[in-house]
Amino acid sequence: MDISTSEETKLRGQLHKSFKAVKNCLSIWKEALAACRQPLDQVENLCEQHQCCSAANIEQSGIIKPFPDIRMRLLYKIDVELEEQLSRINVEMKKLENCCERIGKHCGYSMKSYHENSPYIPLDKVLEQTPTCPAISDMLEWLQQIERLVFQQYHCKKYFLEIFNPNNTEGTENLKDMWSSGDQELINTVEEYLSYTSFFLEEKIT
């Protein structure tokens, strides 16, 4: 690498930190998603039970005459179970939210650092890329992109939980698919960006 100005070094240092944070967040993110999988299965299953129990035409058979309050009791039990599973998911959601915030902050730091230092770094330096190190402009763009994606993904998930209603067949039947749609794309994108920066991350920035 040729001689860098101190401003450029500062900026690179910040980017280094930010991508480290992103890397860290990604693993937390993945773990949290994995932890959600089991309770989600449960939720899906319980929703199905809930709907079937609400819809079952049991009064007709007359068999359940001795149990007049059975439907109510059963639904109550299912709902309690649902609550429990949802609260487990919410714990993971909190972790995702933290990731979101952290990435957002780092994106802000890096942009700020760039804005502060940009008058002293010529454009060709910003656009310069080497085999081991991507251009500063690219890294900034990636950071913004990652922030956007993570923000959207988190809020989509949150929205699902908000509108969750075990009585709503449409919302629950493919809850899991809807919930996890886009997860893989997000991870792939972030990993792609991280792979571009892998050499850069190993570098020591003084």
Binding site: Q49, C52, C53, A56, S61, P66, I70
Partner: protein, 211 residues
């Protein structure tokens, strides 16, 4: 004993760790509480076995229901609704039911024991003209009686529900009803939160559950 401060400081049952020394009514009470817990544990296991059997039945039945729906026009002969593969499962369920019935009978016995203990204690206390003091921490014998009675009642009700389920599950004609039976089996709607809480309290009271 300063009762005023009791709720503030959660103490362990005074008998904790002094198992050996326990005699008489407290001893008997504590053992019964343990028996209740064990019986319920057994019930839970049985329920799990039943759940597996139920699931298998459900799979078989749902296949039939689905194929029936698909070929709604063609008259599916009645015998098709009850394939032979169901039989061993029903047998299994019947056995489970019998075991559960035993559990409930046991519970009834425990409730009786509690009642007897309570009467004995009341009789004693009425002689000594002392106010009723708690057996261990806070509960009087009457509480134990109430608790075991409550547990017994709810399990008895649940047992009758199980009976109904076992009798009818193979005759379910649509998916919703089938699912209803399974959910009812799994979630045991008549075992109330209260009953579960009572058992836990009882265990804490008698020192089986540490704090």
């Amino acid at each position: 004993m300063d009762k005023d401060f009791l709720p503030v400081e959660i103490r362990c049952s005074p008998e904790k760790g002094k198992n050996m020394n326990l005699t008489g009514s407290p001893r008997k009470l504590k053992d019964t509480a343990a028996d209740v817990f064990n019986t319920l544990h057994r019930w839970t296991d049985l329920n799990k076995d039943g759940r597996n059997a139920m699931n298998e039945i459900a799979n078989i039945k749902l296949d039939i229901i689905l194929s029936k729906e698909a070929a709604s026009e063609e008259t599916v002969s009645h015998s098709n609704s009850f394939p032979t593969s169901l039989e061993p499962l029903c047998q299994q369920l019947a056995e489970i039911y019998k075991k559960m019935e035993k559990c409930v009978n046991k519970l009834e016995g425990f409730a009786q024991i509690m009642e007897n203990l309570h009467q004995l204690e009341s009789y004693r206390n009425s002689k000594s003209e002392e106010t009723l003091s708690p057996m261990f921490l806070t509960w009087h014998t009457a509480h134990f009686v109430e608790a075991t009675q409550e547990v017994f009642k709810s399990y008895k009700k649940e047992l009758s529900l199980k009976k109904m389920i076992i009798e009818n599950v193979c005759h379910a004609t649509d998916r919703n009803t089938m699912m209803f039976y399974i959910a009812a089996w799994i979630h045991q709607p008549y075992i109330t939160d209260n009953a579960t809480l009572l058992v836990e309290s009882m265990l804490t009271e008698t020192g089986h559950r540490g704090c």
